[in-house]
Symmetry: C2
Subunit: 432 residues, 2 copies
């Protein structure tokens, strides 16, 4: 294989064979194909896209570039959820133990936050002692015994994706649906799942701003899952404002425990139950979505979901209490009105500026930092009422967070309505 020929073939819009993709990607992993050839190829893919076949070939190559969790000797369906990401999006912490409590195995390999969105691993690690660096063997054992385990990507899972993602990040080739899909799905398939529920966010705070784009992404992800013979359901859900009220690691864990205790914000609770119900259906623990929803509500009400969460935390070395922020600062409304918008990205950046996230991958996070939203879209606000409470270290400046928060809120004289939470459910059955 001559690398420049593969690049030109893609550049000129011809379909690459499975073998060509495999050789090119594995040649890159092995060092025979240079960074500068891979980046030129990635840019050609950005412009020319990939067919279903090509996307699946890329996913498969990245998947098999590393180890894959093997649950074939473990009874029961393994189902995971993947969200395309947003601000305050913390459902994994609720869903994992909830769905496990309903009898479905949930092997969760999660990522860290970068930029304005948070990461499941960072949230869990705000629980003192919580260890997400487990081996695949330990992971498998805990999924088998407890029904759920949360770990981070290990070096031996999808190394091709890891190397390619780092290159995409510095060559302007991140925003490309087939590359995004192959990256997400190769990692999910490495979990050894039988089924997957996708939470594809849409709206101003999501990667995909329009319904149409979000559905296109959902469809592309579902096609890969189908090619892999997995069952998959996708929900298109709202990210026109943060999900729930808490943004920031320990604050989000607390909010999740509220939901597991039968409390917490309605939107977070509702979305967690819906996603869980779809996982329960895929995991064959309920015949239809209505009875799955009832089962999800039942394991919440009975305390079984919370019990699973506590067991998981203990099993992974976590212990309460979590650290608390040194101080808080209230941000008050400058005028009265109805909340028309709460721009998720600005809220995420406000939280980031308080130390809750990282701009570079080696930044250190303050687990207690973040903010709580007291008003969301549709709420009535009086001038002087608290919109947001900031949680932060005493020495930390809150100026930027204050500007961001006030910028994020748009107030209107007219009454407004809260956005819909779930726009669409897209379903399909896998080959198996």
């Amino acid at each position: 294989m001559i690398p420049a020929q593969i690049i030109r073939k893609k550049r000129d819009g011809q379909e690459l064979t499975r073998e060509e993709i495999r050789e090119f990607v594995m040649g890159y992993v092995g060092g025979e194909i240079a960074d500068y050839q891979m980046s030129a190829w990635l840019m050609a893919v950005f412009f020319k896209g990939m067919t279903k076949k090509e996307t699946w070939a890329l996913t498969e190559t990245m998947l098999h570039s590393g180890v894959i969790a093997d649950f074939t000797d473990v009874d029961g369906f393994k189902v995971d959820k993947h969200s395309t990401g947003g601000v305050g999006d913390k459902t994994s912490l609720i869903i994992g133990p909830l769905v496990a409590a309903a009898g479905v195995k949930v092997p969760m390999i999660s990522g860290r936050g970068l930029g304005h969105t948070g990461g499941t691993l960072d949230k869990l690690e705000s629980i003192p002692g919580f260890n997400t660096r487990l081996s695949l063997d330990t992971f498998k054992k805990q999924v088998t015994d407890l029904g759920v385990c949360f770990i981070g990507q290990t070096a031996d899972i999808c190394p091709a994706d890891k190397k390619m993602y780092a290159l995409r990040d510095v060559t302007g080739t991140v925003e490309c649906i087939p590359l995004i899909c192959a990256s997400i799905m190769s990692k999910k398939l490495a979990e050894g799942i039988d089924g997957l529920v996708l939470d594809v966010k849409t709206g101003s705070g999501a990667f995909m701003k329009s319904r149409k784009e979000s559905e296109r992404l959902a469809k592309a992800l579902m096609e890969i899952a189908q090619a892999a013979g997995k069952k998959v359901t996708a929900l298109i859900t709202d990210m026109n404002q943060p999900l729930g009220n808490a943004v920031g690691n320990a604050l989000e864990v607390t909010e999740c425990m509220d939901v597991l205790n039968g409390l917490g914000p309605a939107d977070l609770r509702e979305l967690s139950i819906e996603l869980s119900a779809h996982m329960i259906v895929l995991g064959k623990k309920a015949k239809n979505i209505d009875s799955a929803r009832k089962l999800a509500e039942e394991v919440l009400r009975s305390g079984e979901a919370l019990k699973h969460f506590e067991k998981t935390v203990r099993q992974q070395g976590g212990r309460f209490p979590m650290s608390k922020a040194e101080t808080t600062t209230s941000i008050k409304a400058l005028r009265s009105g109805y909340v028309k918008a709460v721009e998720a990205e600005k809220i995420g950046l406000a939280s980031l500026s308080l130390g809750a996230g990282r701009l570079k991958s080696d930044d250190v996070i303050d687990p207690a930092a973040g903010l709580i939203l007291h008003k969301k879209i549709g709420d009535k606000v009086q001038k002087g009422e608290v919109l947001v409470t900031l949680y932060h270290g005493k020495s930390r400046s809150t100026e930027q967070a204050r500007t961001m928060v006030l910028d994020a809120y748009e107030l209107s004289a007219k009454k407004t309505k809260a956005p819909r939470l779930i726009y669409k459910v897209m379903q399909t059955k896998g080959k198996t």
Copy 2:
């Protein structure tokens, strides 16, 4: 400057500023911007193109990345010719001394051949002792004294182009008009010229196969020359078959000397005179193209052009005779008919297979190898008549060359006409 932002800006179709292009390219030359970022950017340029302003900014940056010949203290106009390349395209060797004999200074920095097309340097170096590795100072002195000098690119001319071209070659980003134009024009402008005549080839043996594409390339090259304040004329000329009859280095030099002696093939002679005449007009040694053509014919007839050629060869260390091929092989027509096509690329590859060219940049050339075409488009051929004579070393296999030659010739039962030699003249005046 954040490199990935510049890449994304180009990727998303926004115009880069002159400063952004300069920083990006010079950052690459300086090693702060990685190969993989430059190659992703080049691929984005392939898809999104460049505006006139951007192309000029790139050309200017590459030009000023190295040294520029300074002829400002030398009287008279300096005019060069550039050809986009073809098989048997040897006009530089005739034009240089001819135009110098007419009183215009001709500073020629030429390249080597790669693949099926030859290079002016390789042709000249088939004259024993001919030295093309002169310093810019010696180059300037000879242009001043003799009116013409032939050298190769030195390491200090356009180093940015050199580094980028090597990368384009292995990343599928060669075939891109703004990149081609900037690469050609930066090197031509480094010669310190006042005017330029472009010989843009069109047809099956040219880089640009159609008239439309060739004119687009000519226009893009002319725009850069204008931006640089240079006078420029472009001729769109035929490359549906090799130019002249000789292909191969020493054979082509001999053919050029035939033309300088008032002999040689009509097409080579005609095109050399036309290109020379346009250079003479740009160099203000004639008022219009008709009197320039007369002047060109006059310096040919008087022997002044040949004298200039011989002086140039002597001055640059060359001495005759040239080496001769050990043996020759005739290729005869398998049937009778009229020549309908002589595919230039196949003829070039036939010559290459005899040792006249190089596939890799470090291949060694046999200066005496090559071939002579005895039949061209429109000629009548009898079965058994010699189509082509191959010149080669005794131990060299001629099988591949024979197949290529027979493949290149298409014979027709119907009478055919020779193609036009010059399709169009495109003119414009520079700013100065």
